[in-house]
């Protein structure tokens, strides 16, 4: 039964991959540059991961996160450009993220529109707004100490961006395990009418979920801008599907009710390991998408442990047994 534990199996897959990579080319994988690259690739998505997992556990989904990263980065860049000090600019960017999140949450929770459609239209709108305001061009030339926000190395080793990303994952893991408010998401995702009858303020919880996701996406946007010391209009555009892919591989079901932040993190780590190994092992980059797609499909099937799948599998077993009997007879 130990093998069937999902967290354990995900850890095993990750460790196996790392062992393979080290055994193939230790100097390339354990290289400082490679590990920094791997961690920086993870960091922005890790910040949002926890909030998104709790959102998806409650049965929602947010396709706008990638655009919120870009939107808040844009606000941040514009505020800095107009000479506003860094702390106030950060607050402005975060307010922008929470604002978008609250619009999403209001439409979904209070007007009862499907989260997929709402955030899909939000995605289109935000992407366009970013392009229109920024004029589709990047911005640079921010104050020099901005870099310290994400690149300051604690103990001269670990950059603050990566430390903050890990803190986010740990905090959300603990919140989803211990905090009463966040644990309501499991009930809402599992059975919404029942949650309502139990006295959970479903609409309020949903609204706050989307606001928290918007906030975390905005934080990621600020960190990314500080890391690159520039604003790029396409920043965060790949994040949405990257995060959702990781969460699905981590075993959170899209219909809600189950999932864990730790497993989502392991899923994200696995995806980035695949990208890293494809680069390190010198496999052609064109295998990337096909490989990720195949992994995603397999994990989606494996993670769906449901009654009907088992019934169908049993049926096929019976059929094949009958066939064998006929052959024997």
């Amino acid at each position: 039964m130990f093998l069937l534990n999902r967290t354990f199996s995900l850890i095993t897959i990750n460790v196996l991959f790392i062992i393979i990579l080290i055994s193939v080319d230790a100097s390339a994988f354990l290289n400082k540059i490679n590990i920094y690259g791997l961690m920086f690739g993870l960091a922005a998505n890790m910040i949002i991961l926890g909030a998104m997992t709790s959102l998806m556990i409650s049965g929602g989904i947010d396709l706008t996160v990638g655009s919120i990263i870009g939107f808040s980065a844009l606000i941040f860049a514009l505020l800095l450009k107009s000479g506003i000090p860094i702390p106030i600019a950060i607050i402005g960017a975060l307010i922008g993220g929470v604002f978008i999140g609250s619009i999403n949450g209001y439409i979904i929770a209070y007007l009862g529109i499907s989260p997929f459609i709402t955030t899909l239209s939000g995605w289109f709108i935000l992407r366009a707004v970013i392009l229109l305001i920024s004029g589709a061009s990047s911005m640079a030339g921010f104050p020099k100490n901005l870099n310290l926000i994400s690149n300051y190395k604690v103990l001269k080793v670990v950059p603050t961006f990566i430390i903050f990303a890990f803190i986010c994952v740990i905090v959300f893991e603990v919140l989803m395990k211990k905090n009463k408010f966040f644990r309501q998401n499991f009930l809402i995702g599992g059975n919404e009418p029942a949650a309502k009858l139990l006295g959970i303020k479903v609409k309020k919880v949903k609204l706050i979920n989307y606001m928290v996701t918007g906030l975390m996406a905005a934080i990621a946007g600020v960190f990314l801008t500080a890391r690159y010391m520039a604003f790029m209009p396409e920043v965060g555009s790949g994040s949405t599907f990257g995060i959702i892919t990781a969460i699905i591989i981590g075993g959170t079901s899209l219909t809600g009710g189950e999932g864990s932040v730790l497993r989502s993190f392991l899923g994200l780590f696995f995806v980035n390991l695949i990208y890293d190994s494809i680069a390190l092992l010198g496999i052609n980059i064109q295998w990337n998408d096909a490989f990720i797609g195949a992994v995603l499909l397999i994990m989606a099937i494996l993670n769906t442990n449901n009654q009907r799948m088992i019934q169908n599998l049993n049926k096929w077993e019976l059929k094949s047994q009958k066939k064998q009997k006929i052959r024997v007879g």
Partner: protein, 330 residues
């Protein structure tokens, strides 16, 4: 008289048509010379035809409560497959048949996983999106397609296939006839055919449909295969019309098709949707795109308008449901 207006307001198709006519007039007044030129009309009809064909399949699928994010990847995969086969000099009939078989196979795989293994369609088709667009690029590299800036994998020119879609009859290109044919087929079959109409039952209440004796799983697989078939047809027509095929999947393609179908009256929870509505939805979105080019506006406005229209149409749906539908399911 009041009920007359109420009826018109409820009819989504009428509202859409009015919006399209309004847009046509505005853009026509602003730049009549370019907008009403024959070239523009041809370009507009080509884009509409390709999208409507896919949107028809998607409508049936969404009526049954499913949905497919992988059409962009499928379109890239099938387009490049067809392109490379023609490029390598394979008989055109054989390449068409192979492409169609691959399209149906892709749909069957997705349909099988969604229905028999009962996995959420979003997850499956998201995986399919990555998988198919990855396969597209692999096919292109194996087939030796042209490489541009390390990513754009294209085949051109494709000799001798322009006639399939680009030939014209009294000034109207064949591709438009294909679209009309498929549109009529779907319209009639969704109205009259018992088999396809079962989709409405599945979409409204799947477990009830199962109990009534509808073969839900088989129908769902059929729906996904139908989408694959439509994508294959659209990809072939696109490749032959433009004499050009690319393996780079447009990640907005499935989202825009889904948006058009939803604008046309379908809902993600299933049970609703109409072919005419989807057709008008595609027309509206393509018209907006066309207008941005004709009027020289930034294409970002097109993206912005898609989002706004999608949101408005869903809110409108919800409004009508609350206002006019008598029974409420709580």
């Amino acid at each position: 008289m009041k009920s007359f207006f109420k009826n018109i307001f409820i009819k989504r198709e009428v509202v859409l048509l009015l919006v399209i006519i309004l847009l046509l007039t505005v853009v026509g007044l602003l730049n009549p010379k370019d907008f009403f030129s024959q070239e523009n009309f041809k370009a507009y009809m080509t884009v509409i035809s390709i999208r409507v064909i896919v949107a028809c399949g998607m409508t049936v699928l969404m009526i049954s409560g499913g949905f497919d994010m992988s059409v962009g990847g499928q379109s890239a995969m099938l387009g490049i497959l067809f392109g490379i086969m023609v490029f390598k000099g394979v008989n055109i009939t054989i390449s068409i048949i192979t492409t169609i078989i691959f399209g149906i196979a892709a749909g069957l795989i997705i349909g099988f996983i969604v229905s028999k293994l009962n996995v959420n369609p979003f997850m499956v088709t998201l995986g399919g999106m990555f998988l198919f667009s990855g396969i597209a690029i692999i096919i292109a590299f194996v087939g030796g397609a042209g490489k541009f800036q390390d990513q754009f994998v294209t085949v051109r020119p494709l000799p001798g296939i322009h006639g399939i879609a680009g030939g014209s009859f009294h000034g109207v290109e064949y591709i438009v006839f294909y679209m009309v044919g498929i549109l009529v087929f779907y319209y009639v079959f969704l109205k009259k055919n018992k088999f396809l109409r079962q989709n409405f039952y599945i979409g409204t209440n799947e477990s009830a449909a199962r109990l009534v004796g509808i073969k839900v799983d088989k129908l769902k697989i059929f729906n996904y295969a139908l989408v694959g078939l439509m994508v294959a047809i659209a990809a072939i027509l696109q490749a032959s019309r433009y004499e050009f095929a690319t393996a780079v999947a447009n990640e907005n393609y499935p989202l825009e098709i889904i948006a058009a179908v939803i604008i046309g009256g379908a809902s993600l929870s299933g049970g609703e949707g109409s072919i005419i509505g989807s057709f008008l939805g595609v027309c509206l979105l393509t018209l907006i795109y066309n207008s941005t080019i004709i009027l020289g506006i930034k294409p970002a406005w097109y993206t912005l308008l898609i989002g706004l229209i999608l949101l408005i149409s869903v809110l409108y749906n919800e409004f009508i449901r609350k206002k006019f539908v008598i029974f409420k399911v709580k």
